[in-house]
Symmetry: C2
Subunit: 377 residues, 2 copies
């Protein structure tokens, strides 16, 4: 990834980052963006956590695709998360490929890209790096940490690991552990990348070749899980592509086929295949309850002061309402004040990225309440 990745901080230079695996990492660079300014009381900071293939460009133009930020609709001056009022931080997660340390970066010990020698990471490791970034930015406490999907998992790890640094927390369309089906779909994606001869056991950085085909198929498979059957039917149905009838061939006859091919091929320009392996692995390893003797509520027992909210979407079959409700129940059982809402939306898992008025209404209430109760303004 050769794009200009904006702001970068170099952390863990003196004291290395101890990962959940036991491996040590030093230094760790972090690509991040900020919007607005920290107020004098230092109580208006909001950390936004991105999803698997997301990035720090939550409200600014993506340096490779040139597209608007992935939550540009919600974040900015006078928008729902108003950057005139709040100091918004979004950083590229550990293991990813837009400025933050990952398998694409040079291993300081060898001077060559890590590849598969990069240590396997967890969602909690990502959160530890975010906490260090907050130190670097002189942010002691967050008015809010918020994120959807893998971003929501980071929110849960914040609640479990650094509750004292939170005033409020909002997790959308997420889960506290990966199910067998979640793992299965990720494993298929990883095997697709590893089946590509250009992957070459992860050593492709010094060649002109990239495992584009393998990564593209992995993305296509994952993308099907992000949309509901209903959304696919409404968007495409059995509509044909630029043709009156089927061609009796293997070209993309159906619009859904050419849409998926486009999703796959455009993804490989902005994402690193090894990063995809590492991040999907981190997701599969997530099992917050497992770390607490099987009781999810035990993970949240020090978060009783944090105003929390969990939001699910009716048509999300990747992280369905049942998984989100289990999180809300655990927070409740731990004595954490929690709001839960299942929002009617037909777009599937990706609903949290889309224009869903009921979600906006809920988020607006949560942000305002967090600001008021947190003493902002």
């Amino acid at each position: 990834m050769t794009a200009d990745t904006g702001k970068t901080a170099t952390l863990f230079q003196k004291t290395p980052l101890e990962l959940d695996s036991g491996a040590m990492l030093s230094p760790v660079t972090v690509g991040y963006e900020t919007y607005g300014s920290l107020n004098a009381a230092c109580n208006n900071a909001i950390l936004i956590c991105h999803a698997l293939t997301g990035d720090q460009y939550v409200a600014s133009k993506h340096p490779i695709t040139g597209k608007p930020g992935w939550w540009d609709r919600l974040v900015g001056p006078d928008k729902l998360i108003d950057t005139n009022k709040y100091f918004v931080i979004c950083s590229n997660v550990l293991g990813s490929c837009l400025g933050t340390t990952g398998p694409w970066q040079d291993n300081p010990a060898t001077g060559k890209p890590w590849g598969l020698d990069f240590p396997v990471i967890t969602i909690r490791d990502m959160v530890k790096v975010q906490a260090a970034l907050l130190d670097h930015l002189s942010v002691e406490k967050l008015m809010m940490v918020i994120g959807g999907s893998m971003g929501g998992m980071q929110v849960l790890e914040w609640l479990a690991t650094y509750p004292e640094r939170l005033h409020s927390a909002v997790a959308l369309a997420t889960a506290a552990r990966h199910t067998a089906q979640n793992i299965a779909f990720h494993e298929v994606g990883r095997q697709s990348i590893m089946a590509d001869p250009n992957w070459n056991e992860g050593r492709y950085y010094d060649t002109d070749e990239r495992p584009r085909k393998g990564l593209s198929v992995a993305r296509m498979t994952a993308h099907v899980t992000y949309l509901s059957e209903d959304a696919l039917t409404r968007k495409f149905g059995r509509n044909l592509q630029d043709r009156d009838k089927i061609t009796f061939g293997f070209d993309a006859d159906f619009q859904v086929e050419s849409y998926l091919r486009h999703q796959g091929f455009s993804f490989v320009d902005r994402f690193d295949a090894n990063s995809y392996l590492y991040i999907t692995r981190a997701l599969d390893y997530l099992d917050i309850a497992g770390r607490h003797g099987g009781r999810l509520s035990d993970a949240f027992k020090n978060a009783r002061h944090v105003r929390s909210a969990v939001i699910s979407f009716t048509s999300d079959w990747l992280y369905p309402t049942s998984e989100n409700k289990a999180i809300a129940h655990a927070l409740n059982a731990a004595g954490v004040p929690v709001s839960f809402a299942e929002i009617e939306a037909s777009h599937g898992h990706d609903s949290f990225l889309l224009d869903i008025p009921a979600m906006d209404q809920m988020l607006r209430g949560l942000v305002t309440a967090a600001a008021t109760s947190g003493g902002v303004e």
Copy 2:
């Protein structure tokens, strides 16, 4: 595929088979198995139609894997489909790779394997070949045609195309058309095969290499859609493979990962990658209503004498109850006598292949009633 494929018939030698695409095919060889004998009244024949990766070995040992037939539990002497009483026929579908003409076979025009020059086929084309096989076996009319999944689609095409040759018809876990999500998952599988350099545009038969990795990933993806989330959770959950804890690596840590890898790698020994492309394409092209001005019931208007039944399974998310119910409604609207049952089963789409007592009970009733009303014995 070099295994002994049992009985073979060579059909369409004088008059070629006209495919739905308009292409002509001559001759067509068909690999098939029969069990029991045709009675004097010629009214005890049952045609069993197999699913995507199934074959004619419904009740006999598979020549490559050595495993028992895929419905061995139901078909045989004194079994539910009693081969002491009925003459059971099962043939490998057109386009497949166990004795029936497909892309692996030599193109008579060139003397070399067809590869992608093989014409694209449809489910109705498969049924036309089965009808010709019945002629070859002197079976004028079937006491029953029965099948699950793609086998059920063949049953529907029998009802639409050759109703006069049917006394009864049973379709399980099926659909009358592929939805956008169905097409999407198949497209991902096809792209996975085509991404494998060993696929080589379908020209791999004269080399020692096969697109094993691509076909394996395609099978893994499809296999996830055959099982319910609940079945995966009960079978595997987050159980680890031969280990006490996660290894922080990319080996198959979770049992579900090694299970899927096994499903993928064992599949490539018994199936041809090009056949997989052709058969998935036939499934995607299926749209019986589309051929009848959008009214599925119009497809069945000549089947009013056929005792029919449609069976779905609660946990099947590939061809859910709604799709099966739409078929039952259409049969009903066409005046075809139809029984419909949604069977409580937690195993997902593959339920029709498993030991589900409620399914057996229903099938036993349907077979007995068909035999009695059809005047058998």
